[in-house]
Symmetry: C2
Subunit: 356 residues, 2 copies
């Protein structure tokens, strides 16, 4: 069966300028993929040009009249934008027409609408935003990256379960290791919540490494780093900031004289390989884990290449069967999870959505 | 008047092997400095060799019989190690014999003992660990880096005040800008505590920029980044991790073939300049701010060069009059601070020390 991806074509800072060319390139590269493009029909037709007929059997356009603004309040987007490209795209997954949805839109609105439309999986209280990042040894999955500001020990355990299944699916490691992000300062070893979470992880059947520190993320000490969304978001942005600073220093030093410039030209092949390895566009595409459907969030400022990689990420995760694996694990390990009755969970869900 | 620094010579992973040569190099470089070396007298004499007579007028040795272990519980170190090099070194500052104390020892014990011996400044409830880090535009001061796991909005304001005065003193900027570290995820803009702190900063006469994100640290968006100690510690360690990963990638790519190695040789001058700019040893020396005395914490694993830079940092901060500036500000702006009576503060201090 072909993999079908629903794409919120109107999303991101650059909208169709970026999303449509990325989709066309993606169709060309992956002959087993079908794309559903959701957005303003006329605009899509205008941007897609000749490719429409070329890929007519693997390309569907679904018209929508609204767009969720990048800074729109999630609760307003949810209430007033029922015909937005974002919502209609998510509906494709809910209706079983697509295996995953990709959007470069407003993160808060995407999370709120996806959660409302798709609901959280049985056994998961809070979805988390997860991302793969480069390390010295391969890739690491970090979560949560900002879906929740504060996380209970139980939530952290659920993040650990989700991250483990994601890494198992995409890296084929039989038992990915998990660490809880903590501080190593000798005086006080972390929050109370982390201590409790550590106990829960120890009792679980996850491959628990123990607590890790900030430098362990890119060292590749573990396959999965679990943290609350506040800490995870700060760490993720900090990584971006350091990488930019170092690139800036390299550029500055390699262009500060004619001789330096000559060295840059000579070393170009090596410098380019390093640049390629660090290119954040290759790591574009965070996944909203814990929902009954695969939702991929591209960076809002993504260019064509970056958006292409978000599509790749979605494709790869559908192909690897991430959600099936996670669902299977949750069904088999109910003892690890809170046995909240559904009415309580619905209430929590409702409260969360009101908080937005 | 000569600047006098008290050095806990027995501290750090490498002890006298590192601290003594760094002190000798420092004396040679700075003819206006006097050092008090605290530790086992015989060991010091053995390691210092001929330099003792050479710098006899600027070098004093104070004997101590105990050493605080790197992993010793702070409360035990405080109770049982009254004749430790760390404690005697801190006493030098308390007794007015030295302007600052430098130790590469156990952070928790250093904080606990320094806090007990020197007490917090009037107006400051909690000391913070602050560090200068490189950015695209110069340097940024980040605090707290782990002295406190959780921080109230009032504590964050106090960190902002301390960071501002530190940067004013060392960079001579008339009005350093301050940002509160937060997350930019659209759905939920940070903890309640950060929202309250934002209000306090707005009302203060600090040069408040607003909230910043993780990537703003190394972008140099602001001069001072304020955060709780948990987040700060994670960010600091994450920065170290990314820098190591990128160095690793550069090294790997520049050594993976004979041709690459040749390029590395040709580009050496430029690569070396970048390496110099990023050398974490140059940024060694965090300051425990908010105490009645200047306490500088060197990285435990510091080598001779790194420990030298921690001495430089202490020298620079004494020279810049950081504590006087901070004390002056606190006296002039009592309206910004909680008017806790001293008994309450003593109680909090006692509670804190018991927590360790």
């Amino acid at each position: 069966m072909a993999i079908v991806l629903a794409v919120d074509i109107m999303s991101g800072d650059h909208g169709v300028n970026v999303t449509v060319p990325a989709c066309v390139a993606f169709l060309q590269k992956n002959p087993d993929v079908k794309l559903i493009l959701i957005g303003d029909r006329d605009t899509i037709y205008k941007y897609i040009g000749n490719s429409l007929s070329k890929y007519s059997d693997r390309l569907e356009v679904v018209h929508s009249t609204q767009v969720v603004d990048m800074d729109e309040a999630p609760q307003l987007a949810m209430r007033n934008k029922k015909d937005s490209s974002m919502r209609i795209a998510i509906n494709q997954v809910k209706d079983g027409k697509a295996h995953a949805i990709i959007s470069a839109g407003n993160t808060g609105a995407l999370m709120a609408i996806a959660r409302y439309v798709l609901r959280t999986m049985k056994g998961i209280d809070r979805p988390a935003i997860a991302k793969l990042l480069p390390t010295i040894k391969g890739e690491v999955c970090v979560l949560d990256l900002g879906a929740n500001v504060e996380s209970s020990p139980e939530h952290l355990l659920q993040f650990g379960i989700m991250g483990t299944q994601l890494m198992k699916a995409v890296t084929h490691k039989p038992s990915p290791s998990v660490g809880i992000l903590n501080i190593g300062s000798e005086e006080i070893k972390g929050h109370e919540g982390i201590k409790k979470a550590t106990e829960l992880f120890k009792k679980s059947n996850l491959n628990f490494y123990g607590n890790v520190e900030g430098d362990d993320i890119n060292k590749g000490t573990v396959d999965v780093v679990v943290c609350d969304g506040f800490t995870g978001n700060v760490a993720l942005k900090t990584i971006e900031g350091v990488a930019k600073m170092i690139s800036f220093f390299l550029k500055e030093e390699f262009t500060n004289s004619t001789l330096s410039k000559l060295m840059a030209v000579i070393s170009y092949p090596v410098l380019n390989r390093v640049k390629q390895r660090l290119d954040p566009r290759k790591y574009n595409g965070a996944v909203l884990l814990g929902l009954n459907g695969l939702v991929i969030k591209s960076h809002g400022g993504a260019d064509e290449i970056a958006f292409y990689y978000a599509l790749e990420q979605a494709y790869h995760e559908v192909n690897a069967g991430v959600l099936n694996l996670l669902e299977g694990f949750l069904n088999q390990h109910k003892e690890l999870l809170d046995d909240k009755d559904d009415s309580k969970k619905e209430l929590a869900e409702f409260k969360y959505l009101n908080m937005l």
